[in-house]
């Protein structure tokens, strides 16, 4: 037992160096026009499994639009988005979510009247099968694992008999899939709330959470859909330096859980500190791609951020 623990503590470091990794998402020559406005102009880049990719650019560069194309909110005018080999463009958002892409929103979009826990449970629900008929009649029975059976806790008396009857019934007839899924959703959601650090506010209505907690809750909700790729849209907006530091840690932890991260961010320092690779957009066109170091030295990127022309630099 002690051996396994020690190997586990040594092993889980996932190499952050870019190596030969599987291609996860491929954005191929995507063009998006709104009438005469070209929001994205032949943007192409790839995301590999297990990396943290930064997508940066000045205001209005098309970062969020790029996100919206990837999550099915907008359909590209031409070009394609492929996820793990399958076409994304043209599918509906719920389908894309099931394929394994999830996101947070730049302007927080939680379900304000639902509790934090329920918000996350909506995310976990997307992997469950029970629907109206299943929840209503609960006829689909599953043989429960021993730890899922109702426990007999009472020492004696009527209550004990009742608990024993329930346990035996569950052993004979099984438990409904609805109940098992409901329990799994709750457990996983609590675990995710703990992961992002707001487990103490599980029963609070989302509207009443502080700004920072709402941002964290959005991340937990996005993680609940079990995404292969999670897209964070300016998660640090409005954060102070200490909170940003915590967020950096959280983003690395998300990657270490096995998710690939795409990060849109304004704050150059945050991007430089956490990403493996950076793609820079300006006016809907990709102007640079590479490691944070390379990109931050690229004269065109400096120009885009500081407003100087390339010639002047």
């Amino acid at each position: 037992m002690s051996e396994t623990t020690s190997t586990e503590s040594r092993e889980p470091v996932i190499p952050s160096q870019p190596g030969p990794r599987r291609l996860l998402l491929e954005i191929d020559q995507v063009v998006l026009r709104f009438g005469g406005v070209v929001a994205l102009n032949e943007v192409s880049f790839q995301i590999h499994e297990g990396e943290i990719l930064g997508l940066i650019g000045p205001n209005g560069a098309g970062k969020t639009t790029c996100f919206n194309v990837m999550t099915g909110v907008f359909k590209p005018t031409s070009g394609q988005v492929r996820f793990a080999g399958a076409r994304v463009s043209g599918r509906k958002p719920p389908e894309i979510s099931r394929m394994g892409i999830s996101r947070t929103f730049q302007n927080i979009r939680l379900f304000p009247e639902m509790t934090a826990l329920e918000n996350v449970m909506v995310g976990t629900d997307s992997r469950h099968k029970t629907s109206v008929v299943g929840a209503l009649f609960r006829l689909y029975r599953v043989r429960p694992k021993p730890e899922e059976l109702p426990q007999v806790t009472s020492e004696a008396g009527l209550l004990r008999t009742w608990q024993q009857v329930r346990r035996s019934c569950a052993q004979i007839f099984g438990l409904s899939r609805h109940i098992l899924e409901e329990r799994a959703a709750e457990k996983k959601s609590l675990e995710l709330l703990r992961f992002v650090g707001i487990q103490g506010r599980a029963n609070e209505v989302a509207r009443n959470l502080s700004y920072g907690d709402q941002r964290r809750l959005e991340i937990a909700r996005a993680l609940a859909t079990e995404p292969k790729l999670i897209c964070l849209d300016e998660p640090a907006a409005g954060f102070n330096p200490a909170e940003k530091e915590q967020l950096l840690k959280l983003i690395r932890q998300i990657r270490d859980r096995g998710h690939t991260v795409l990060l849109i961010e304004h704050d150059m320092r945050l991007v430089m500190g956490v990403t493996d690779r950076v793609v820079v957009l300006e006016f809907g066109t990709k102007i640079a791609e590479g490691s944070p170091d390379e990109v931050s030295r690229d004269p065109r990127v400096i120009a885009a951020y500081l407003g100087e022309s390339v010639d002047a630099a």
Partner: protein
């Protein structure tokens, strides 16, 4: 004046939520006893004879209607409110044509169960059946549910792509269409003349009926309240499941819900279909008890009344909407002297409620799950 009212209101709200909190904090067995006692009282109500409470009965005033009859009306309105609450309160779809589903439920039992209906007469001729033959009442139940559910799907399929006001307009039109079709399709529905001899549990209405007769209405109320309780149980199951969460998520932010994997169209259609089925069931009970229906009983005013029950009671909360339904069905019966001015009084009350308590009399309080203990159990696997 306004501020004072608001302050009183805030105090009352605090007291109310206190009651709800204390109720939720009770052990399960005590809540079970509470619920059982409440149900027992519901079944006892038509016999109400406790000295000091008899003034509640509607037949305690001159020219008052039968007490059990009023209770029956309350019960079917509660059923309507519960169904409409699924659509309006949970899924957030404003449906102003709910009377349409109520009418479809009522007409299904009338058209197939009554020997006077042109449909039954046509069946008798075509299949050479006896002139007393009609579809049995018990078979009309699933028939009414299936027909209203199907009509909900048929209406919902094309229209649920619309949002907000547009959906309200389309559904308002639907309610009117059903009424006008029922009036003009004389060959099928007897038109404005209506259909009589609609059966009850004991078959066509006649003086020989022992239990479900025309005089003693208590059994009708007991039947209706049983149906209501069953449906409350069923809708609660849905509310506390993935389905209920999806409805709320759609109501709160449909686009965000879609990105989180909620198939909005599917769940909205389900909400519409379930709402329609409950409305149809309610209409079915109404028609069986009334034994006669005609199209004028299903006008748009009633649709507005149904929405009012939900909004006044507290949209999204089943206890609230049931309370709203009872209030709007009972008060005009008990206080007959205002019944001439009932629409004025009613409109005024609506305005007052909307100004002082826009969330309804007993608003939906997002149930805080009792998780304090279980939160500690959940293991961290980071």
């Amino acid at each position: 004046m306004m501020n004072k009212l608001r302050a009183t209101e805030a105090r009352r709200r605090a007291a109310l939520s206190g009651i709800a909190d204390r109720w939720a904090a009770l052990p399960a067995w005590q809540r079970l006893i509470g619920v059982t006692a409440f149900i027992a009282i519901l079944y006892y109500l038509p016999l109400l004879g406790v000295p000091g409470l008899t003034w509640l009965r509607t037949d305690s005033i001159d020219g008052g209607n039968s007490w059990a009859g009023v209770l029956f009306t309350c019960a079917i309105y509660v059923l309507v409110a519960i169904g409409l609450n699924v659509v309006v309160g949970l899924a957030g779809l404003l449906d102003l044509g709910y009377i349409g589903f109520f009418a479809i439920g009522a007409y299904s039992v009338a058209l197939f169960g009554s020997t006077n209906s042109p449909v039954v007469k046509w069946m008798q001729r075509t299949f050479e059946l006896e002139p007393t033959w009609a579809v049995a009442w018990a078979i009309c139940i699933p028939l009414a549910i299936a027909l209203s559910l199907t009509s909900g799907v048929i209406l919902g399929w094309p229209t649920l792509r619309l949002r907000g006001d547009y959906l309200a307009i389309v559904t308002l039109g639907f309610g009117e269409i059903i009424r006008i079709v029922a009036r003009n399709l004389t060959g099928v529905t007897n038109g404005a003349a209506g259909i009589s001899a609609i059966p009850g549990p004991e078959g066509a209405p006649s003086a020989d009926n022992q239990i479900f007769g025309l005089q003693d209405l208590k059994p009708w109320y007991w039947l209706a309240i049983t149906v209501v309780l069953l449906m409350v149980f069923a809708v609660r199951r849905l509310e506390n499941s993935r389905v209920g969460r999806s409805w709320l998520a759609i109501r709160e932010d449909e686009d965000a819900a879609a990105v989180m994997g909620v198939n909005g169209f599917k769940f909205k259609l389900w909400a519409f279909a379930i709402g329609a089925a409950l409305g149809g069931l309610s209409g079915f009970l109404f028609a069986s008890r009334n034994a006669f229906i005609d199209p004028s009983q299903f006008n748009a005013t009633l649709s507005i009344l149904f929405v009012a029950m939900v909004v006044v009671g507290g949209s999204g909360n089943m206890v609230g909407v049931a309370f709203g339904a009872v209030l709007l069905a009972y008060l005009p019966e008990r206080f007959r002297f205002v019944s001439d001015y009932r629409w004025v009084a009613f409109g005024f009350a609506m305005v007052v409620v909307m100004v002082l308590r826009p969330q309804g009399l007993i608003p939906s309080r997002r149930r805080a799950r009792e998780l304090q203990d279980r939160a500690k159990e959940a293991k961290v696997s980071v």
